[in-house]
């Protein structure tokens, strides 16, 4: 007996189903059997067929045994996924129509021995490595005996392990995970994949879950799946690494003043969220972004919900945004759809397809909230997040609009897109003096400095413009109120100006007066000086005269006093004179 290594690693074959190979770490177990279970319309057949077709593309031949649908039907269905089965059928694929015609009479027990013999021969002929048994319960149900059915399943399983094929058996299951009829099958096989279709609030969700995988780790969560034009897709919402290229390149928002507020525009490849109440010109802003992108020659995709493309083009035309030329040249593509259509996963799947087909550099989703707030379900938020991640990895600049109505939701979005958005612009209405005016603010912008000021957004025939708002008496003034304020300010300004002029003139006059006075004073001073000089001369000679008189007198009277007496005498005379004067005044 061969001794296996301590950690035998299970060889895996990729299914090529987007997401599934990641979740299972490589795909289905090679040379082993996988059971795909699910209710009607879950995508069991598509899953199995896709694994087979992708194998065939990699030169792995496969056989599809159809117990339920005619092979012609299957080939026709596959064509809707763009799988050219007839071409593959020639070399790599073989379809066995294993349906019994209704007129077949059953007379006793039967078995699969003959069919397996045929398949064995076919496998050897084609060197097939993969095989699908789709809806085998349809045939085995005819046995009408659970024991016999089980016997045939065991026979099939034995055959699969002997031939060493990678097998897929699809199995219907009812509401419960464990189907009583073929419950044993889950224990027999090496891998069990459960597909589920659930309806939440009237919207359908498809999920996939790996229930069992012998000898291998796997992500056990339920993953949303979508049926796209490329087949089944699994949205891997597990811990994904957010690895994407980042650039410093800026993209114009289409509004020069908004670019200024953002210090140069949006970052290339970022998510921009424009939120606001209905009618706050969200679509106009988105349209301006799209038009600017087209003008730069960048491929742009405009996705709108609940509003037709033609209507949007007309509406944007009314504010001077012309999209028709770009639509004609093919730079711009518009895609309009209803939100209450297929389930949300499918909608995002369809969007992914559009993105892959058009390969845009810029994308507008108007409004994203139409998609994500549709259902209060964790899957819907997941789906939008995954979609935005997908766009981010593709380096597409996205402008989403988001509707927020009601006063309670002023600056929050139900879906949490706001946390994913790199730049969040909010437009709100300010009602004042019987007017509704639009106020634009940048709530956040990752990695860029941005203006924290409120701007008034006005719409005209030439598009949207941003104007500074006036803050007066602690209030933001807009519209007519602003106009009035501006007028008043102007008048006030004028008044102040006039007053200043008057004051200037008055001061000039005062200065002139002062100068004149100065002149007078100066002249007067000069005159006084001259007077003083004259006076001084005069008194000088008088005192000399007096002194000479004193000397003569003393000489004449032979006085011995030294002249002090004379001075005292004159002082006494002075005092008497002043006393006399005082009396006279009274």
């Amino acid at each position: 007996m061969k001794i296996h290594s301590q950690h035998p690693s299970v060889a895996k074959v990729p299914t090529g189903i987007q997401g599934f190979d990641e979740v299972t770490g490589g795909g289905l177990p090679a040379r082993r059997t996988t059971l795909v279970m699910g209710g009607p319309g879950c995508g069991k057949t598509v899953f199995a067929l896709q694994a087979l077709v992708n194998g065939a593309h990699q030169k792995e031949a496969g056989i599809f045994v159809a117990f339920e649908e005619s092979t012609r039907q299957i080939i026709a269905n596959a064509a809707t996924f763009g799988w050219d089965l007839p071409a593959l059928e020639r070399k790599k694929l073989f379809f066995l129509d294993a349906r019994l015609t209704p007129d077949v009479v059953k007379a006793g027990e039967f078995d699969l021995v003959g069919m397996l013999g045929l398949l064995k021969a076919k496998v050897q002929e084609m060197h097939a490595t993969r095989i699908v048994f789709d809806g085998i319960d349809v045939l085995l149900g005819l046995l009408d005996d659970p024991a016999l059915e089980r016997r045939e399943i065991y026979r099939l399983r034995g055959w699969l392990s002997r031939t060493g094929l990678t097998g897929i058996i699809t199995q219907k299951s009812g509401g419960t995970d464990v189907d009583l009829r073929y419950g044993f099958l889950q224990f027999m096989v090496d891998c069990v994949v459960v597909l589920r279709h659930q309806v939440v609030d009237g919207s359908g969700f498809r999920n996939l879950r790996v229930m069992k995988y012998r000898g291998s780790g796997f992500a056990a969560d339920e993953f949303p799946i979508t049926l796209t034009s490329d087949g089944l897709q699994l949205s891997h919402r597990g811990p994904t690494e957010l690895a994407y290229a980042v650039t410093d390149e800026r993209v114009s928002s289409g509004l020069p003043r908004l670019d200024n507020m953002l210090r140069g525009g949006y970052y290339r490849g970022s998510d921009v969220l424009i939120s606001g109440a209905p009618g706050t010109a969200k679509s106009t802003l988105a349209g301006m972004f799209a038009a600017a992108a087209c003008e730069r020659g960048e491929r742009t995709l405009y996705v709108s919900f609940d509003e037709g493309a033609a209507q949007i083009v007309r509406n944007l035309g009314s504010v001077g945004i012309r999209l028709e030329p770009y639509l004609k040249s093919g730079v711009l593509r518009m895609y309009s759809t209803r939100t209450r259509g297929p389930n949300i996963e499918d909608q995002f799947g369809a969007l992914r397809d559009k993105v892959r087909a058009h390969k845009p550099r810029c994308l507008v989703i108007d409004p994203l909230s139409a998609l994500s707030t549709k259902v209060e379900h964790v899957a819907s938020a997941d789906a939008s997040q995954q979609f935005l991640d997908f766009l981010k990895i593709a380096g597409i600049t996205v402008v989403n609009t988001s509707l927020m109505d009601g006063p309670g939701t002023a600056e929050e979005t139900a879906t949490g897109i706001s946390t994913i958005a790199d730049t969040w612009i909010h437009v709100s209405y300010i009602v004042q003096d019987g007017e509704r005016n639009r106020a634009l603010t940048i709530v956040k912008s990752r990695g860029t400095g941005h203006s924290n000021q409120v701007r008034e957004l006005t719409l005209s025939d030439d598009g949207a413009t941003l104007t500074d708002v006036f803050v007066a008496q602690g209030k933001v003034l807009m519209g007519v109120a602003r106009f009035e304020w501006e007028q008043e300010e102007q008048a006030r300004g004028k008044r102040v100006q006039v007053a200043a002029e008057l004051e200037r003139l008055r001061l000039q006059l005062a200065q002139a007066e002062a100068a004149a006075r100065l002149q007078v004073v100066q002249t007067e001073m000069e005159a006084r000086s001259a007077e003083i000089a004259v006076l001084a001369d005069a008194t000088g000679s008088a005192s000399r005269l007096l002194r000479t008189d004193h000397a003569v007198l003393r000489k004449m009277r032979h006085a011995d006093e030294d002249g002090r007496g004379g001075r005292r005498k004159s002082g006494r005379d002075k005092g008497a004179a002043s006393t006399r004067g005082g009396r006279g005044r009274r």
Binding site: L96, L100, V105, K106, A107, G108, E109, D111, G114, L118
Partner: protein
């Protein structure tokens, strides 16, 4: 029943898979029914699909054993080991 209006020139072909129990039983049952109900007015060909697997593909045989009434028309198929004689006779005599 079938015995009352036997079909002249009954041509049957029985597809079997080697020595699988149902196949072995089917051969025995087919032979017994033919000899008992159709005497000499029949031919029974036995095809072993394990020896000639492509025959199944060409003739569109899904399960074994399968008995095919080729003539008289219409062509009728009976699956199973033919242990339900009444069902077999009903099918072979069907107009």
């Amino acid at each position: 029943m079938a015995r009352r209006r036997p079909q002249p020139g009954l041509v049957l072909r029985l597809y079997v898979a080697g020595h699988a129990p149902n196949s072995v039983r089917a051969i025995a049952n087919a032979r017994a029914i033919c000899s008992e109900h159709f005497a000499t007015r029949h031919s029974l060909e036995i095809v072993d699909l394990l020896e000639d697997p492509h025959r199944a593909l060409i003739d569109g045989i899904i399960v074994t054993p399968t008995l095919v009434k080729l003539s008289p028309p219409p062509v009728q198929r009976v699956i199973g080991n033919l242990s339900d004689t009444d069902q077999v006779l009903l099918a072979l005599a069907a107009p």
